[in-house]
């Protein structure tokens, strides 16, 4: 009774995607080993790729470790180490994956709790296989919504991907249209990471750990936010394996974040002060838009606008390539708010796809660009980017923005979060508040540290205007944040130490708006380790992106591909990425050996990815090699940490950024 009626065997060399929903990457969490085993078997029969965890903590580790490695999560409600709802929130916050709750409890209250915490479904145990056959719909739906948001915000990536998708030969039986696009996009993103990057190699995803981010921030401050160009930042940071593109995208996000931060404090009308310096990278178009809208809204002072523009234009680094079209779209998007886009033209080259900046609507989220940039860099990032942007734009899903995988320093993250969420605010607001990297931003950065839990959690309420946002944000930001700081157009929002408040407030708002509950989670999560924060920015983003990659994109899940290869039904429980990741140390060439049976079952206390490579590994090897060839340098550095042990959490998570083709 597998869901896939016809499984198209995909050879690594070909790019024929697997018949969706086969290959859906599921993570199942249940403390009951009996249930876990049964679920796993059922899911395998549905032709999904299954990974099981018996502990919530393990599940989180795995999710963080293998960003974009999963499409959906199934979790039990009652677990000893962590409440299922709490896990649900965490996942929503960090990774924004659809989560289905399960329990033998069918009481109305419990089910309601699932709803309020953001579960996309609730299954009563004992779970029947029929119920599992349709879980893919939640993934599709989510993608569809994200896609829609992205489109609205005119994300370049989306646009670009869409085109790619259209050309692709995808035979999904699921919704065509947006789903298909999203999915495809995801595949394409995975496959065509390069498109985003200038190189044609797939780049490993960079995990912006706290340390890394701090290094980054230090470099930016040293250079001055205005002058901070990726190349120089990269030099200053002197991190082996880090590419200019990584930095560029991160910078974009950072800028957006800063912008957002400054925007946050600014309650509606004050927004005009911060200009998105980040925008530069992103293309002034966005900035332009924001400015325009702001100006239109009467909030942006003429000179601010000018400054902003100037700031926006100032940067010319092309960051990870956001496709220009995105800009256009964005303009589009903005246009209806404010038909004056104009900047874009000049800046488009700069946009790396940092559309997000604008997306953030005046939220000075420096992070955004960065996030976006990073996203773009990463394979499948685009999807995330899009979401980011979309959200930034004020699309609905703030959560998407959240996804930005910037595991920046907490503060950053927080900023990002706000930024993204801010984006939702109507363009009129703050759009351009972009805290430039001036001193203010530095401050902001520092202040923000903690809150950014999720990095960029998106705006809470799409509908809410900036005012909303600022509420949460607590306009802690020193007034100056808004107004441009000394630097032209750069106003750093520095919510001094307020972040925590902000965060909370944001969560609150979220709640009020009916926002994704995950945000609250964020708050809770906040006190967690920095790694986590960082990661989760990235994670969320990636996750969202990753999830699209259901039909194995050309290189999709390794495991997946391999299984396909064999024509073997997807019994492989490999978390394709995971598998690959695990083996990373061994280098791509070892895919085969890797593939082999990593079958450590999940046990209590240890996170193990159960991977069964039923299929031959040879194809996998090929697959792997293709993809990972390039990343060796970075990977090797990263791999050292990961070598062999999936279980190690923090350190690996921090840096590990495997751009697994997911």
């Amino acid at each position: 009774m597998s869901t896939a009626s016809s499984s198209s065997v995909r050879k690594p060399s070909e790019s024929v995607p697997l018949q969706f929903p086969a290959g859906l990457r599921v993570l199942v969490v249940d403390d009951d080993p009996t249930c876990l085993m049964i679920l796993e078997k059922m899911l395998r029969i549905c032709r999904y790729e299954v990974t099981k965890c018996s502990r919530a903590e393990d599940a989180l580790s795995v999710l963080r470790r293998y960003k974009n490695g999963f499409d959906i999560v199934l979790s039990d409600v009652h677990m000893p180490d962590m409440d299922g709802f709490k896990l649900l929130e965490c996942i929503g916050l960090e990774m924004d994956l659809p989560v289905i709750m399960m329990s033998v409890d069918d009481g109305k209250n419990v089910v309601m709790k699932g709803v309020t915490h953001g579960a996309c479904d609730y299954l009563i145990k004992p779970v029947r296989i029929e119920a599992l056959k349709n879980i893919w719909q939640h993934v599709v739906r989510k993608r569809k919504n994200e896609w829609k948001d992205l489109e609205q915000s005119g994300v370049e990536d989306v646009d670009r991907q869409q085109k790619a998708n259209e050309e692709a030969d995808y035979s999904s039986s699921a919704n065509e249209g947006s789903w298909r696009n999203s999915k495809r996009r995801k595949e394409d993103i995975d496959d065509a990471e390069e498109r985003d990057d200038s190189s044609t190699l797939k780049k490993p995803r960079v995990v912006w750990s706290v340390e890394l981010h701090q290094q980054f921030v230090g470099a930016v401050n040293q250079l001055g936010i205005e002058k901070a160009v990726p190349k120089k930042i990269l030099e200053l940071m002197n991190v082996p394996g880090l590419t200019r593109e990584n930095v560029a995208s991160h910078l974009q996000k950072y800028r957006l974040y800063l912008r957002r931060v400054s925007g946050m404090t600014l309650q509606q009308s004050n927004l005009n002060n911060t200009f998105m310096s980040a925008q530069e990278a992103f293309g002034s178009t966005l900035n332009g838009l924001d400015l325009q809208t702001l100006a239109a809204a009467g909030q942006l002072q003429p000179q601010s606008l000018a400054t902003l523009q100037a700031a926006g234009f100032g940067r010319s680094t092309a960051k990870s390539g956001m496709p220009m079209p995105l800009v256009d779209q964005r303009n589009h998007f903005f246009s209806f708010e404010n038909p004056k886009l104009r900047f874009s033209d000049g800046q488009q080259p700069h946009l790396n796809g940092s559309k997000p900046m604008n997306l953030l609507h005046g939220i000075p989220t420096t992070m955004e660009p960065k996030q976006l940039a990073n996203l773009q860099q990463h394979s499948a990032q685009s999807h995330g980017n899009m979401t980011m942007q979309a959200s930034a734009q004020g699309g609905q899903t703030s959560s998407q923005l959240m996804q930005t995988p910037q595991p920046q320093a907490r503060s950053q993250i927080l900023n990002e979060c706000t930024a993204t969420s801010v984006t939702r605010l109507p363009p009129t607001i703050q759009q351009s508040i972009l805290p430039n990297g001036t001193a203010g931003s530095v401050l902001a950065r520092n202040e923000f540290t903690t809150n950014s839990r999720g990095g960029g959690y998106n705006l809470i309420s799409p509908a809410s205007t900036m005012s909303n946002f600022p509420m949460n944000q607590t306009a802690e930001l020193p007034g100056n944040s808004f107004p441009l700081q000394s630097t032209p157009g750069v106003s750093s929002i520095v919510p001094k130490g307020r972040f925590p408040d902000e965060v909370n407030s944001i969560s609150d708002i979220k709640g009020s708006e009916g926002f994704v509950p995950s945000y609250d989670m964020f708050r809770d999560l906040h006190p967690q380790k920095p790694d986590w924060d960082l990661q989760h920015v990235g994670v969320t983003f990636d996750a969202s992106q990753g999830s699209l990659d259901i039909p194995t994109a050309a290189f999709g899940h390794q495991g997946y591909a391999s299984s396909q290869q064999n024509g073997h039904n997807r019994h492989t429980s490999t978390v394709g990425k995971a598998m690959f990741l695990l083996e990373e140390g061994s280098d791509n060439g070892n895919a085969q050996s890797m593939g082999q049976q990593l079958n450590p079952l999940f046990d209590d206390g240890s996170v193990r990815v159960k991977m069964e490579r039923a299929s031959e590994t040879s194809s996998q090897t090929d697959l792997f090699s293709e993809h990972f060839g390039q990343e060796e340098d970075l990977m090797s550095a990263l791999l050292k940490q990961q070598q062999g042990s999936i279980a190690t959490a923090e350190s690996e998570l921090e840096w590990f950024h495997h751009n697994t083709p997911v």
């Binding site: 009774m1 080993p33 009996t34 049964i38 078997k41 029969i45 009652h78 033998v104 004992p126």
Partner: protein, 150 residues
């Protein structure tokens, strides 16, 4: 020949388990999951269940010996037990779990103790029956019908 007879016997035993209410539809679900890749899936699951739930039983017993009874804890344990039991289709055991939970919610220690005795009885009875069943199944050899078209 003998196999055929064994199989018939097996089928009868199986049917009686359903008829007598020891097993429910979930057990059939498990059987349907059995395939070439996991030819002894059901047995494995049941074994796993008994192994895992025996620990639970011990915990419940300990909890029942406390005075005063911690009903919340007991309820949580029972919830777990119920979930496990329902996943293998242990109908009677599951019913006892539900009953026990009711007593927990009602705060009746007496009811809990009584029901638990009953539960253990059902639990053990089922175990014996299933052990015999699987043993016979092994003797009878793999049954084609176990591999249902997926």
């Amino acid at each position: 020949m003998e196999k055929t007879q064994l199989r018939r016997q097996l089928a009868n035993i199986r049917q009686s388990l359903f008829d007598q209410g020891f097993l429910d539809e979930q057990f059939v679900q498990l059987e349907e999951l059995q395939d070439d890749a996991n030819p002894n899936f059901v047995e494995e699951i049941v074994t796993l269940y008994y192994r895992d739930s025996s620990r639970l039983i011990v915990s419940i017993e300990q909890a029942l010996q406390k005075s005063p009874l911690d009903f919340n804890k007991l309820d949580a344990l029972m919830h777990q037990f119920k979930g496990s039991s329902s996943s293998i289709g242990a109908k009677k055991v599951k019913a006892e779990c539900t009953q026990l939970r009711e007593y927990c919610r009602a705060g009746s220690g007496e009811g809990c103790l009584r029901t638990f005795q009953q539960l253990k009885k059902e639990y053990t009875t089922l175990r014996k029956k299933l052990e015999a069943y699987f043993q016979l199944a092994r003797q009878a050899g793999p049954i084609d019908s176990a591999c249902r078209p997926k």
